[in-house]
Amino acid sequence: MIDFLNSIIVLLNFIIIPGISYGSQLALGALGVTFVYAILRFANFAHGEIMSFGAMITILFTWFFQSQNIGLGILPTALLALPVGIIATIILCIISDKFVFQYYRYQKSVPVVLAMVSIGVMFVINAIIRIIIGTETIKFSDGQKFIIKAKQFKVMTGLNEGLALKSSQVITILITILLLTFTFWFLQKTKTGKSMRAFSDNEDLALLSGINPDRVVFTTWVIVGVLACVAGTLYGLDKSYKPIIYLNLVLPIFASAIVGGIGSPFGAVIGGYVIAFSEIMVTYAYKKFFVYILPSSIEPTGLVQLLSTDYKFAVSFSILVIVLLIRPSGIFKGRVL
């Protein structure tokens, strides 16, 4: 029985908790990509950099607050700076739309051209971030780091395995639940949300029934800004902030959005968790788990690892390819909010 509990703790500690927190970050990112795709109808390659930009502003204001000795006690100061980051990210989104994307929308350009344009935007934001904050790795989480430490847990329960719960993980999960609930409530219950859904379903019909397209687009960018900034900051808070990482994050995010069915917000969230869990589960070495759960006579000798951790990123693309082959529309049929 003890062994069974130990094995459960191992799974919780190394797969389930990291999976949920990484999955939440991916889900928020994928939700942003999905919004752009469903309303503005293009694949936004700049999304990773928008996330990075939001995280950067948050970091700058975290430093400012820290220098003024303003803090939240046991919570990280970044939470205080997050609203500023969100506003800055929204402004960035609106500016990039006004000066860049709007023109192509009025021209009714094909999606590929808009994707190319978003690559241009990606380069510009990328350069701005690097010029402002450089390329160094930045750790900006302060406050209490662990909610439960591994040692404490061992003493508390008397088990062999410790369970470590970082506060950043709990914050990630809580904020994600909050934000997702709000987004879905907004889409389903408010008038603006409904007009957005109508717009994504059938643009011409929506225009005929008097929906103002500029307003819909504006709201979309606001939502995208919020989601991107929160996702970027949470990722930075959990791992550590490094500008280069966010470019690599774009692909798992796209993978999540497509796997869930691009255009479907619910699918994007599910896709995020699917990608996160498969990345972690495929590359985790299960030896410890089997040592606890199997009798010692048939214990495994190797690491019982499907793929080495080097292939972490490759896993998400492989899943993307497999899903596109078997079910091109994704898990949930998409294209409509």
């Binding site: 190319m116 690559i119 241009g120 010029i131 692909l251 080097d310 693309f317």
Partner: protein, 456 residues
């Protein structure tokens, strides 16, 4: 082929840029930039063939370049006998087993009719097959990687002249492209972009971590050159005579013998570097012109016309009896093969293979900016884009330093803002690239040298 006037202007601009740099920063710098420009132009032509001719998007440039680089290693590196002895048989067995597995799966797919049984049988046989293969494979690779890990630790190559790898690199890339194309070409263009980008990441991560094949992150250095080494040139009589002859007027003015010898030695050292780079440039130029010639021929041929028809209206082309899927695959593979050639040339030029150096920003997106800026659908435009963008990528740093110094001329040299800006000079090139791309897409969406509209 006949060039229009503006095309002559473009060619003149390209040539004069290098002459300008040659006089300002020295001929060595100019030739270094020229070599990379030519390679970039070849990559750009590869992308241009699939995107400009047929509208097939290829964001996997990075992966195909890496395959070309792998070919350069496998062709030119001398074989490592100990590694083959240590793990060759194991690898052979696992490869043979893989073939058996594939045949078994194909056999099952053919004979078992009932769908559910087929799925169960297939997954069972694949699962256990992979378990068995893994056993042999891991043992073999482990043994190979243990052979002298500091300098070897991989299988080595064939030990042939590296120039063959340019063809092999093209074939490697074409092979990978064939598989990707079979899998992904039915997708919509923006999905295809994401999928090819993802697969190219997979290719690079395989090269990064399969050390028995490519030495992975430990890099392969010291690949043999197709051109002479500087040190050999410096000791070769004919080269010394050549340098003396070329600089005879300058040397004759110096009276003192030892001074004269000193100057001559410096000239020989400089000259050998330039000679090596020049020979690279000539080799690359030949390849570029060959590809350019055939690409233009193909574009003007009935096949090229069919490609344009498919690009402009897929449904109509399909209705006219053109096999759209097959033609898409063909052009995707051809484009990738040309990129693979460029990848092999890139490694040849550097003399080393660093899998971790393949990053999408540098090796996929920049190439796409070259295509868009130069003009998709026009081969000269592709070359022009490759030249201009690579040139500005390199020259952005000196230019930025100059601009920042001009703008902050009123500030003291220890001013924090000025120092910070000067520190971030390397990042301004991304800003330039983004702005160039956005401006071109806005004001000249067909590129600087647009595709010629033919009414024939």
């Amino acid at each position: 082929m006949k060039f229009e006037r503006y095309e002559w202007v473009a060619i003149t601009i390209m040539i004069s840029l290098f002459i300008f740099v040659g006089f300002i920063q020295g001929w060595s710098v100019s030739l270094v930039i020229l070599n990379m420009c030519i390679i970039s132009a070849i990559m750009t032509m590869g992308v241009n063939i699939s995107w400009g001719y047929a509208g097939v998007i290829n964001f996997g440039v990075m992966g195909f370049l890496a395959m070309g680089g792998l070919a350069a290693v496998l062709v030119s590196y001398p074989p490592i006998v100990e590694s083959w002895q240590a793990g060759g048989s194991g690898l052979g067995i696992s490869f043979a087993l893989l073939v058996v597995l594939v045949i078994a799966v194909m056999y099952i797919n053919k004979t078992v009719i009932q769908k559910r049984n087929r799925y169960i049988l297939n997954s069972l046989i694949i699962f256990f097959g992979i378990l068995i293969i893994r056993h042999f494979y891991l043992n073999a690779t482990h043994n190979i990687e243990d052979v002298n890990p500091a300098i070897a630790g991989f299988l080595g190559g064939l030990g042939l002249p590296i120039i063959f790898s340019w063809i092999i690199g093209g074939l490697f890339a074409a092979g990978v492209a064939f598989v990707i194309g079979k899998v992904a070409l039915g997708l919509r263009s923006d999905y295809l972009a994401i999928v090819t980008l993802g697969i190219s990441e997979i290719v690079v991560s395989v090269l990064k971590h399969e050390e028995w094949l490519s030495r992975g992150v430990k890099n392969v250095i010291g690949l043999k050159r197709p051109v002479p080494y500087e040190i050999d040139l410096q000791n070769a009589d004919w080269f010394i005579n050549l340098v003396t002859y070329l600089n005879s007027s300058k040397l004759n003015n110096i009276v003192d013998i030892s001074d004269r010898q000193q100057v001559l030695n410096n000239l020989i050292i400089d000259g050998s570097g330039i000679f090596v780079k020049l020979s690279y440039a000539i080799l690359f130029l030949i390849v570029m012109l060959i590809i350019f010639y055939f690409a233009n021929k193909a574009q003007l041929s009935p096949w090229g016309r069919m490609m344009r028809a498919i690009r402009d209206n897929e449904t109509a082309a399909n209705a006219m009896g053109k096999d759209v899927v097959k033609q898409h695959l063909i052009i995707f593979v051809i484009g990738a093969a040309i990129v693979g050639v460029a990848g092999a040339m890139l490694v040849t030029l550097d003399g080393l293979f660093t899998p971790s150096g393949y990053r999408p920003l540098r090796f996929t997106f920049i190439i796409w900016i070259m295509v868009i800026v130069g003009g998709s659908g026009n081969n000269l435009g592709a070359i022009f884009g490759g030249f201009i963008i690579w040139f500005s990528w390199i020259e952005a740093a000196p230019l930025t330093t100059f601009i920042i110094n001009q703008l902050t001329v009123g500030l003291e040299p220890t001013n924090a803002l000025k120092l910070h800006l000067l520190d971030s000079v390397p990042y301004f090139r991304y800003l330039f690239m983004g702005l160039i791309l956005l401006l071109i897409l806005r004001y000249r969406p067909k590129g600087i040298i647009p595709e010629k509209v033919r009414h024939s």
